[in-house]
Every structure is written in C-alpha cells, then in structure tokens.
C-alpha cells in the first residue's frame, strides 16, 4: 500500500470515529489581552436540559499565559468529568451541571477546540450546553468576562448541542468567539504521523 493511501486511510478513520454520532467542532478563542497578568479561573461546564446522553470534549488547549492547577473544590459536580488541561477534558452530562475549574495566569489568548456529540433524538425538546467562563476567584463570584451579565455573569460563550442534532453558539462577551471547524485533532495528527512514520520505516526496511 502506498504511503499516500495509508495517510488517507488514517484520516478517514479519524473522521469516521469523530462523526459516528452527531458531533460539531468549534474552535473557541478568548481574547484576554485586556486581562494580561491577571489571576483567573477557567470554568467549563456542560449542562443538560431535556438532554439525552451527551459529552463535550475539550482538546488542543493553548494559551500564552501560564496554566496553573486544576481546582476540584469549587465545582458543583465533577463526577462526570475526566481529564485535565492542557490535555483532553471530557465533560459528560449525567448531572444537573457537570463542571471543571482550572487556575491560570492570563496572557493575551486562550484557545481550544471543543466538540460535542450525542446520539441525536429527533423529537428532542432540549439538549446540553457547553459554556466557558472566566472568573477572578475559584468560587466563581468575580466574573472577568460578561461582567454585567446578571445570572450569566462570567460566562463568555455557550455552545448548544441540541438533541435533534442541531448546534448553535451564543457569545456573551465580545472577546469570546467560537468558529465551527472540522479540524483533524492535533493529537490525531500526531498519532497519524506516528503511524505514517512507522509505515515509511517499514517501507524503507522492505
């Protein structure tokens, strides 16, 4: 098999795995340049309302700030959350809210990719919402973005995974953007690259 064909096969497999249920990829970017140097907590949550079983996966995390320690104290329920930044974090929706909290010193940007996936229910009347918040304290009492947002203060961005398969985004702070994307995950690139490297080595050996 040619090297090119192997590459296509690996890419196809990755895409197929990612799209076996309804899944949408979004690149989330927070422009934190006005807060550079501030101590902060990045608060992620995946909250269902009438939602079927679903998850939100955060990966490809990057920042020019300094990532601190994960906080497991000031979360409502992390039992359905696995992983830790800068690695992959997977938030399920088994509870009323499923949340993750991580300290960092802000630089000018926070960026990651999130994809949501569920077994879509065509008659669904709700879904689950992935949201990103930025707070000045671990307990979430001091919002840094969307400061005057009332009951959503601190929450910068929401991505809805509806049970009927549709998704939507809602930006509550001008510094937060979410762009739909269909990237090959960096980790998968590494994996794919590694496999291709091995294939090239074998070919060479052969």
């Amino acid at each position: 098999m040619s090297f090119f064909k192997i590459k296509l096969l690996i890419i196809s497999a990755i895409l197929l795995a990612a799209s076996s249920a309804f899944a949408d990829f979004y690149e989330v970017t927070l422009d934190t340049s006005s807060l550079t140097g501030s101590s902060a907590y990045l608060y992620l949550q995946y909250t269902p309302v009438n939602g079927v079983a679903s998850s939100a996966t955060v990966f490809n995390f990057s920042t020019d700030g300094l990532l601190g320690a994960q906080d497991t104290v000031n979360v409502v329920n992390g039992s359905a959350v696995t992983g830790s930044l800068p690695g992959t974090v997977v938030l399920g929706n088994a509870n009323g809210t499923n949340d993750y909290n991580h300290a960092l010193t802000l630089g000018s940007i926070v960026d990651f990719i999130v994809y949501t996936a569920n077994a879509a229910n065509s008659t669904g009347t709700g879904g689950s919402t992935f949201s990103v918040g930025l707070f000045g304290d671990a307990a979430g009492l001091t919002p840094l973005l969307n400061v005057n947002g009332g009951l959503t203060a601190g929450t910068a961005l929401m991505i809805n995974q509806f049970d009927n398969g549709a998704t939507s985004t809602l930006s509550l702070d001008s510094t937060a953007t979410a762009n739909a994307t269909t990237p090959i995950p960096a980790a998968a690139w590494l994996l794919g690259s590694g496999i291709m490297g091995l294939a090239g080595l074998r070919r060479k050996q052969a």
């Binding site: 949550q45 269902p48 409502v76 919402t129 918040g133 809602l170």
Partner: protein, 581 residues
C-alpha cells in the same frame, strides 16, 4: 249524657290534648338547616320538632322576612317523624336571603339562617367549600365548622357561603342516635349555624351505610335523586331504607356527579348506565366526580380498587377532578403519563384529591409510593377543608389545615384569624393549592425547545431559554403558556404545622417519594427539588410560564428566559406542553 254533651266533651278533650301537644310539649329537636335541590330559584329548609304541629317559615332579602311565608306541616316521607321540609321557590338567582322558622307565626323561634341562591346557569365563575368525613368527633366537627365560618367571614370570602360539597361519612353509623349526637346536637352551635346558612350537597360514606343501604342519611339529606334512572331504590321489606343514592348537581359552570359506591355500579346496572349518560350529557365546562372512598389516595384506609374500573369513563368524559374522603387526611394523587401509570387504571392528568379531614380521627398518609397506595403526589395528616374557586377557564383548589383542633372542647378562633395569635386558638394554614386550566393544547402545532442553560455558582441558579416556534399555517392568538410537564410545582405547597403527625419523627414534607409513580415502577415520577423560579403560574401541580401575551404568527418564534433553582443538581428534564389560553 246526651249526644251534645258527649260531643262537646270530646271536643273539649281533643282541644285540651291539642293544646297540650303544641304549647306545652312542642320544641325544636333539629334546628333548621338547608339543602340545595335545584333549580337556582329555590332553596330547601328542613327541621324537626317533637310534636305534631304546623310551623311557620318566613323568608326575605333582609331580616324583616317579608318576601314570603309558608305554613309547613310535617312531611309525609316514610320514616320521618315530626320532620318538616319546605322548598322555597320563586327566588332570584345569586341573591342572599334570610329565613326564620317559628313554631307558629309569632310563636317560638326554632331557628334562623341565611343563604345565597345558586348563580345563573350561564355563570362562568363560582366559589364553594368542600369537606368530608365529619363523623365521630362532634367537638372537632364543631371547631372545623367554626373555622370555615370564620374563613367565610373574612373580607372577600362571603361568596363561599353559597354551597358546600361533602364526600361522606357524615356520622359514625346509620342510626338516628348518631345523627342526633354528631350532627344535630344543639349545643354544637357552630355546626348548627353553619348548616343553617350553607347547603351541604353530598354523598354517603361507608359509615352512613349498612350493607349498601341507608335510612338516616337519605332521611336528613333528601338530595334530588334521579329516581327515573333507578336512584333511591327502596330496600325490599322496608319503607325508608334505600340504596342507589347517586345523583348530580349543576352549579353555575360546575357539574358535580355523586357516585354511591356502596350500590352496584357494574356495567349494565342502573347506576352505571346513569353515570355514563350523566357525564356525557352535561354541557358544563367543569366536571367534578365525588364519591366516598378514593380510587387513589395516600391511605391509611384502603383504596377502592374496584372503582378503578370507572377511571376510563372519567377519562373519556374529560372529568377534571375526582374528590373523595374515607382516609382522614389530605392527599393528592394522579399520573400524568402512561409510564407513571405503570399499567394501573387511572385517568391521566386528573387530580384525585382526598379531603377526609372534616372532623373524624386523623389518619397518617403513606407517601412512599412503595406500598398499597400508588401515584401519591402530596399528602398531609390534618383536619382540613377545601375551597374551590372557578374563574372561567381556571379552577383553583386550596386545602386549609385547621390548626389547634380539639376533640374535647370548643376552641375559639385566633384573635388574628386566619393567622395565629400565638395561643392555642384555632387558625388556618395552607396545605396546598392546585390550579387547573381549560386551555387549548397546541403542542401539535408548535415546537418548544430549551437551551442555552448555564449554572451560576454565585446565585446557585440555572438560567436558560425556552423557544417556541409556530410551525402551523395559522397564527396563534392571545396568551401562550408552556407547562413544564414532569416537574412538581413546589410554590403552591404550604408549610403547615405538623401537629397532627403521629410519626416519629414527625412528618416534615408532604411531597411523596417518586411522586405520581408507584411500587415497582421504574418511572422516577415527577422531578422534585427543581423550581422554575420565574414561573408565571401552574397547571395541575406543574410549573407554567407565559411565553407570549400577543400570540404567535405562523412561522414565528418567541424566546423567554427560564430560571431554575436546583439545589440537588438533578438533571433537569421536562416535557414542554404549549397551551393557548
């Protein structure tokens, strides 16, 4: 002695005896009380004295009693002795009248009272009282009726005087002695004054009944039984003992169907045939079915599981409410979905309310939904009565606990009634309010979707949005509401004193475990602990939110915020049902 002398002597003797029978011995045994027998231009007054005499009944729109008067001889119904009954006719609907009964005109006053005639048949709004299981404890019954009278006397509540419905077990057994001591004791002045001014239209219970027959309930409460349909059937060999005490009442916008569950209601019987036609024929918008022993209650008396065979008839005829007693407490049972019903025969979305705290010894409710009493939603041990308030398309029912009851003495009302005055005097506490609406379900024309939900750790609230889209070809007009079916509406549940709880420790919550579900049923029942904090109302115990006051055009959408308190962090799940008012 010649004929003339003999004649004169006998006349004199008769006269003397008559004189003795009236002025010397005549007294009022059972003070006047009233009964509404329809139509709305009438009211029936009943009383009993202890001699053969003709009494005088006078009535009017004030205490000059100048509208009318009647000389009322003893009635001739079998089994009645010295009893009087008079149906005043020619009255104006929806009008307050006063009446008095005298031994004779200007003679001994037997009693006075007042009443409000039934409303116009086209009335869309009406209010009335409900209570049941008054038996066995006349002091408790007296105190309860004192509290009801006090409630009616509160500003804005006068309208509740007009009618009371009762769900049975009026006395401990079918014997005149029980009626004398438990219902007609003239020393129980609050009972006497209440029934003199509020007609109590009801049904018999098992205690009023002896092997399916009753003498004294039928005697003292001669409801307008549809005898042509087979009601009021005489027991063979008797002259005043009956079964088949089924009947129905129209009162403004409400149709009340009374089922005698101690007479056969099997398919093909007179009662069954009548029930089916009665419910189908009524054109009244509100249908209430009343019987004594609940099909679904919280115990501790057993449910009448045989009567569950009638639930499909209730469902087919859009019965709004089943109302009953038998268990001496308050309870609300029901199922909203076939999953919650779990195969049980129960009319869905129909509250089955037990209101049996009218004076009899209190029974403790079973809120486990894991035993003999399924589909319980709420329950509370209490002396209680209920109010019913129909305002066109909305029926509001409230159960009130009478706190500081006594079974051994008459207790005064609180100086701050209905609130407590800090003493052991009687006062009222809300147990629960349940609201029913006759709105049009338009869910097949719209989609309602929830989203954008986020938890705020500072406020400890969940906020999201609810979007309703009109997918139909036609516009929807007026108020549109969405009911969050599957969530228990907690805001209408009160916090009454648990003084009547005998559990150890005392019961503190009236919310059942897995409300509306049942033993062995995997359905978790209604979601408790989740509160829609910006609800604009409720429907049958579930929260409701107004999404539009100006309708929704075809193809248009409207989005409203929804906010939840959810301290247990439960997964919020509901079925949005959209209604057009």
């Amino acid at each position: 002695m010649n004929f003339n002398k003999k004649h004169l002597l006998s006349l004199g003797l008769v006269s003397a005896l008559t004189l003795l029978g009236t002025t010397a011995f005549a007294a009022n045994l059972k003070k006047p009380y009233i009964l509404y027998q329809m139509p709305n231009t009438t009211m029936t007054v009943l009383w009993q004295d202890d001699a053969v005499e003709t009494n005088t009944l006078s009535w009017g729109t004030d205490t000059s009693y100048s509208t009318g008067t009647a000389q009322v001889a003893e009635e001739t119904r079998p089994g009645t002795v010295n009893q009087h009954q008079y149906k005043i006719t020619g009255l104006q609907p929806d009008t307050r009248y006063y009446y008095k009964v005298e031994g004779s005109a200007g003679g001994t006053l037997y009693g006075t009272g007042s009443f409000i005639t039934a409303p116009d048949e086209s009335a869309k709004s009406i209010r009335f009282i409900g209570q049941g299981d008054s038996r066995s404890q006349p002091f408790a019954l007296n105190n309860l009726m004192k509290a009801v009278t006090g409630f009616i006397a509160l500003p804005g509540n006068a309208d509740y005087q007009r009618l009371a419905i009762a769900n049975g077990d009026w006395v401990n057994s079918d014997a005149d002695s029980n009626w004398v001591t438990e219902w007609f004791d003239n020393t129980k002045t609050d009972i006497r004054s209440y029934v003199a001014s509020t007609p109590m239209d009801g049904v018999k219970g098992n205690h009023d009944n002896s092997s399916g027959y009753t003498t004294y309930y039928a005697k003292y409460y001669p409801n307008p039984y549809p005898t042509a349909a087979g009601a009021l059937a005489l027991k063979a060999g008797t002259t005043a003992t009956y079964n088949n005490l089924f009947w129905s009442l129209d009162y403004g916008p409400v149709h009340v169907t009374y089922i005698d569950q101690y007479s056969s209601y099997a398919p093909g019987t007179a009662q069954y045939n009548w029930l089916v036609s009665d419910l189908a024929a009524t054109t009244k918008p509100w249908k209430v079915v009343v019987f004594h022993a609940s099909t679904y209650s919280a115990g501790s008396d057993g449910d009448d599981t045989n009567m569950r065979a009638l639930e499909p008839i209730f469902a087919a005829n859009n019965v709004d409410l089943t109302w009953h007693g038998h268990s001496h407490n308050y309870a609300r049972a029901g199922a909203y979905t076939t999953s919650q019903a779990g195969g049980d025969s129960i009319a869905l979305n129909v509250p089955h309310i037990t209101s049996g705290g009218g004076g009899a010894p209190i029974y403790q409710p079973d809120l486990s939904n894991n035993g003999s009493w399924p589909h319980v939603i709420t329950g509370w041990p209490s002396y209680e009565f209920m109010t019913f308030d129909v305002q066109d398309k909305t029926l509001t029912m409230t159960a009130y606990q009478v706190t500081n009851e006594s079974t051994t003495a008459i207790v005064p009302l609180s100086a701050n009634f209905p609130a407590t005055d800090g003493t052991s005097n009687l006062f009222l506490e809300k147990i629960e309010t349940t609201v029913l609406n006759h709105f049009t379900n338009v869910s097949n024309q719209v989609t309602a979707t929830a989203g954008n939900i986020v938890y705020n750790r500072a406020s400890k609230l969940y906020t999201g949005s609810l979007t309703v889209t009109n997918n139909g070809a036609s516009a929807l007009s007026g108020n549109l509401d969405v009911v969050l079916d599957g969530i228990l509406y907690l805001q209408n549940i009160g916090t009454p004193s648990n003084m009547y709880s005998t559990a150890s420790p005392k019961i503190t919550s009236m919310v059942a475990t897995r409300p509306a579900s049942s033993k062995g049923n995997a359905d978790p029942g209604l979601l408790t602990g989740v509160t829609l904090t910006n609800a604009t109302g409720s429907n049958n115990g579930e929260p409701m939110i107004r999404v539009s006051s100006s309708g929704l055009a075809s193809g248009a959408s409207v989005t409203v915020p929804i906010t939840f308190s959810n301290p247990n962090n439960a997964k919020i799940t509901f079925n949005p049902v959209t209604y057009q008012e």
